[in-house]
Symmetry: C2
Subunit: 260 residues, 2 copies
């Protein structure tokens, strides 16, 4: 099967113009088919503040009210997505930037939660592999913003880590998919302040032990849960590591590789 | 040759949520291949004001400084484009929303003008028919935001009327293209205040006469110049008229049709 890299780039890289430019240069040169899923960064929060929209948080999650949804749609699917696509075009990488509504590639429903209303947050229902295969047949590079839709005209704010995982899973029937979570750290660290403490590989048993020993940080846990779920659903490898070492993450010479 | 409708929808319809919803319902049902090019509307200006970005105008044209470019990219390629795409998906119209940077479909250069610096405004260099043919082979409906790029990583604000004209021209070698400019008026009017004064068809000779008699409003002149240029470059028909009568514009039973 043909190789496909599904790469998620985190918010801290996106907020740093120079880091983003460096990452884009590396990503542009990755050979073969690749999908970049980008997060949001802090621009949306800053714009919401400027516009006087109060940002409500529940359990560390932002509530996406109608005005906030408008802003995240503008920032994620507009500014960030098109800035990355234009930068890739400058490197002769003919990328296509999309939201989940485009080609109906990712449909979702508004999150149902009895305790809290998270607003216009979407949980994914389906990835449209037919549309994605058609696009990937002609375009080696897709850049996907974390905005989905419910099929009834409603756009929804959706977690970029989850989008990367769901895309990787859905496409693993036709491609040999490697899922890579890129951020500003070296990988999963034993000591969060020390990049040299990166754990090279984690099996399910080791994951249980690391959790029991309280070594894995709260922010890393959902990524690792996603990673094991993805592996269980047919993805060949999941790697977590430094965006500036993307080449070495792909060749598994850097970062943390999650294995079954 | 296969029929292709290239339809430009103006800013006043986009600003009116109900009018836009009505238009989207009609557009979704247009059979065959179709490209919708949308303008910007007033949201970008409102956001720029909120953010305290002074809007400079020269000869009635907005100067697109770096901050304004950021905002128009967010609003046009993000909010408006994805809102229209999601609304089309709700009508089972599997649309793909794009900027000129996506798939490198429209490349441009920053406008060079000795008298004024218009900022990040793009004049079109090329339409990438290869990318567009590939996309149209699988997706009947493309929705295009008036943002282009210069191939060096710079996004550019570009006139939507001109984008529609250039797309129509470039695609006329492979499709039988009908170019339709939709707005809130019935067409080209003898009396701008009276929709019943719509001129059904205009030939080049009639256009000269209407100009000499001062019957054509200043805002309509560039549209008509675009229309005749497009006809001279291979487009089968150009029609100008009311967005809510799109079906009748397509069948040329309403609006003003420009003929050679």
């Amino acid at each position: 099967m043909e190789q496909l890299q599904v790469i998620k780039i985190g918010g801290n890289i996106i907020d740093d113009e120079q880091a983003l430019a460096g990452f884009v240069n590396i990503f542009a040169n990755v050979t073969g088919k690749k999908i970049l899923v980008h997060g949001g960064g802090k621009l949306a929060t800053r714009l919401a503040e400027q516009a006087g929209i109060p940002q409500q948080m529940v359990d560390g999650r932002r509530i996406t009210d109608a005005e906030t949804l408008k802003i995240v749609t503008m920032v994620y699917a507009g500014y960030i997505n098109k800035t990355i696509v234009a930068a890739l075009q400058a490197k002769d990488c003919n990328a296509l930037g999309l939201s989940g509504a485009d080609g109906n590639i990712i449909s979702a429903h508004k999150r149902i939660n009895a305790a809290h209303d998270y607003g216009f947050v979407g949980d994914i229902d389906a990835v449209n592999t037919k549309s994605l295969h058609q696009l990937l047949a002609h375009f080696d590079t897709l850049v996907i913003a974390p905005i989905t839709h419910d099929g009834k005209g409603q756009l929804l704010n959706t977690n970029a880590d989850t989008i990367a995982q769901e895309l990787a899973q859905a496409l693993s029937t036709a491609f040999n998919v490697q899922l890579i979570y890129c951020f500003e750290k070296a990988g999963v660290l034993r000591d969060v302040a020390d990049d040299s403490s990166c754990i090279n590989s984690i099996t399910p048993a080791e994951f249980q032990q690391l959790k029991a020993d309280n070594i894995i940080s709260a922010g890393m846990l959902p990524k690792l849960h996603n990673a094991f779920e993805a592996l269980n659903k047919g993805i060949s490898a999941v790697t977590i590591g430094n965006a500036m070492k993307l080449d070495q993450l792909i060749s598994r010479q850097s970062g943390t590789t999650i294995v079954l």
